[in-house]
Amino acid sequence: MSARRILPCLDVDAGRVVKGIRFQGLRDAGDPRERALLYQDQGADEIVVLDVSATPQGRDHGVEVTRRIRDALSIPLTVGGGVRTADDAARLLDSGADKVALNTAAVLDPALLDRLAARFGAQCTILAVDARATSPGRYEVVVRSGRDGTGRDVVDWTREATARGAGEILLTSWDRDGTREGYDLDLIRAVASAVEVPVIASGGADRIEHFRDALDAGADAVLAASVFHDGNWTVSSVKQALLASGIEVRP
């Protein structure tokens, strides 16, 4: 079986890496190209870039950042944020993304997933889901950085999205994001057991147990931002600790 993956995430606003809690209070955390190459050297399995400011007017930022990173990056690059049409996705792929993540646009127009998968393949088409706990074991899909609920159940939505062609799920706990309280393990279990495609856990990483517990709960990959940006962990130190506890990762 392919190894579990560690994915540093760069939230990019107007060409700079930023960080914040629950999508609010953004602070500068450097140049995306420098960050991507640093994490590649540390043994990152992929780099994820989310353009948190993406708007129709600002979408060229994403293209430009993608191109700058791609030139030097020899590992996979996922880009999300502001993708509303198959042509938006094509622009990012043409500038060097290997996979494109869809979030709000897929909720508004689920058939967009079918179109992307048919044109670029399921392995290019990632569904990003922001999940908010509503009652024990129940999660609602939220959009627009958590400002809007959708009434959709997260497990139902991920099942529908993979049936439509999404090849991977980027699953963010809106409740945990930026809190450093650990990944939401119930959320991971619920989705990982409902779909056949790989699940990337996101939101809440701080301690090494958090990474390990998320992978034990069924995540194929774990995504984190602040702990890497702040230097609490390097990717290689996380991997060494996971290897020591018997989880297979690429050393």
Binding site: M1, S2, A3, R4, R5, Q40, D45, R67, R70, D71, A72, L73, S74, I75, P76, L77, L93, D94, S95, G96, A97, D98, K99, A118, R119, F120, G121, A122, Q123, C124, G167, E168, E196, V197, P198, D220, A221, R250
Partner: protein, 200 residues
């Protein structure tokens, strides 16, 4: 920069990662769908993401399919990646009824056996014979060849639920189920070896 490498767009592939990897290895890339250029070029890359049927549809227009089969038969330097490798097979479960190029007399099949599909991530590639070293490479595929693809090909294997063909090489022809352009140092070495000696 050394001689340009010709990259065949299949209409579905994102070529930027392949072109960036070639550039890092010191070779510019030129895109073309002209079968005569594909016949003449010193080196040709057939990348591929997307579906078997979509890639074949593009190759069957205007004689690209024949030009590629000829190159491979003549042992001209050719690198086929992912779906680019799969279209060298006779057929694929992904697109029933669609003929592949038939270089490999096997059918591409879907992963099964309780593993995640698509396979997305890094896996260990095990070459059958020295001097090739095992190493970590990146895959993004739901389908693969599970049977040896005919005589004369040197194989490397990987396992995702079942053992599958991770790469097949013969002379100057290299077919990779993994993405060498996304496989870090190991992938870069593989590309440089193919570029440098023409040998796979």
């Amino acid at each position: 920069m050394s001689a340009a490498v010709l990259v065949v767009p299949t209409g579905t592939a994102n070529l930027a990662s392949v072109e960036a990897a070639l550039a890092r290895a010191g070779h510019a890339a030129t895109r073309t769908v002209d079968p005569d250029a594909v016949r003449r070029a010193e080196r040709v890359v057939l990348p591929g993401v997307g579906t078997f049927a979509a890639a074949m549809d593009r190759l069957l227009r205007g004689g690209l399919a024949e030009a590629l089969v000829e190159r491979i038969a003549d042992d001209r330097p050719t690198l086929a990646i992912c779906v680019g490798m799969q279209v060298l097979a006779r057929a694929s479960e992904e697109s029933p009824g669609v003929d592949g190029l038939g270089v490999f007399p096997v059918t591409v099949r879907r992963f099964d056996g309780g593993v995640r599909v698509p396979q997305i991530g890094w896996n260990v590639i095990q070459p059958e014979d020295a001097p090739r070293e095992p190493g970590w490479v990146y895959f993004a595929n739901s389908y693969a060849m599970f049977d040896p693809p005919g005589d004369g090909w040197r194989l490397a294997w990987a396992t995702h639920g079942r053992r599958f063909v991770a790469a097949a090489s013969r002379g100057a022809v290299l077919a990779c189920q993994f993405h060498p352009e996304l496989s870090g140092r190991y992938g870069a070495d593989r590309i440089e070896r193919w570029l440098g000696r023409g040998a796979a």
